[in-house]
Symmetry: C2
Subunit: 221 residues, 2 copies
Amino acid sequence: VDDMLVRMFPTVRVSFTGIRPDQRYAVLLDIVPVDNKRYRYAYHRSSWLVAGKADPPAPCRIYAHPDSPYTGEQLRKQVVSFEKVKLTNNEMDKHGHLVLNSMHKYQPRIHLVKRGEGASGLVSDLENEEYKTFIFPETIFTAVTAYQNQLITKLKIDSNPFAKGFRDSSRLTEFERETMESMLAEQHYFRSPLRPFADLDTHNNNLSLEEKAILAARSQL
Amino acid sequence: VDDMLVRMFPTVRVSFTGIRPDQRYAVLLDIVPVDNKRYRYAYHRSSWLVAGKADPPAPCRIYAHPDSPYTGEQLRKQVVSFEKVKLTNNEMDKHGHLVLNSMHKYQPRIHLVKRGEGASGLVSDLENEEYKTFIFPETIFTAVTAYQNQLITKLKIDSNPFAKGFRDSSRLTEFERETMESMLAEQHYFRSPLRPFADLDTHNNNLSLEEKAILAARSQL
DNA sequence: TAATTGACACCTAGGTGTTAAAGT
DNA sequence: ACTTTAACACCTAGGTGTCAATTA
């Protein structure tokens, strides 16, 4: 049985500043439901509408960035890129991939976990750890098994190297690109008029996201 | 500049028995010179002959298996396979690959390193660690930039999936395969008439190697 | 009707030996 | 004369959207 299995694209990429160089950290990603609703896409309005109550929630899993644990030193220099995380709609998935319900809205979250001298990159139970969670509302997306909006399709074909084979026939026009951007801007405006700034403990730490990449974030299932 | 860069094939694969299930270990691989000589290949005799003193030694690097650290539990169940380790003849290599001199003889070594609660998979200085080294003389090989013996070429084409494209024209005949095996058996007989058994600390630990794979071990540079 | 699946062609990414050319 | 390099075709491995068929 072939599961529906995809990477996220665009990739969630996150950078950290102001953390302790000699401290060790794990960087985790999970994806949680935004609300308790199921959605459908209204083609004539080009927008998502509520279509009832949410399906039974999928098991919430956590993805540890494979380069974890990082030293604070490394985190200051590198952008942490979650290009390899995989999403599936198979509730029975045995490979530890993140499980989502199609046609539901999701919020990716980043967890920065302090690692004592013990412990590997793995974090079995977050509740026992000292950590901080960062949320970027502009990364909210709706999970799908097939694209609902052709602008999204075109945007992904334009920007994902693996879809290069479809580029000739579907380049975004200038007009489409502008339409796209205004749609996204509008969504962000209503959701998050003020950009949240996050501090890590008492060390005046900021987390900034590669906003350009994230602005286009729409992952299919 | 493209460095000469190859994986080892056949792969060094090692399994452990009798170790502590709850202890954490790193598994390392390095490759050290067997002697202080440089070799040349005598085609008419199909054997390696001493061709003078060794060239200045390449920097000796250590490759940590990327799945390190392992728990003893994992090590009991899984075979540790070093398929991803890369060899180069570029002394200036900046990627941390293992550096060898062509036309010299080498001995791969496996290091099993006890990891305290601290520390990641990385081991910066082996001398500060509690570890045990395992050596299998049958894995000795001569580094080359081009194959000297066509039986080796054919054997690798026959057994490496990535060389599938050359198989039709160069399958090993029954005779060639037998010749090959007797050559290898002879070499092993002279080098290592008795199979070494290794204990780890005082815990009655044995290390056994996937002998079949290793018997054919000849890696080019 | 709307959503999901699976076979497919087309890519990226990278591991092979071959061969002719270059290096020593 | 021997060794090394670099471009190449041919693979493995796996990430894309498409489209027709299937599911619910």
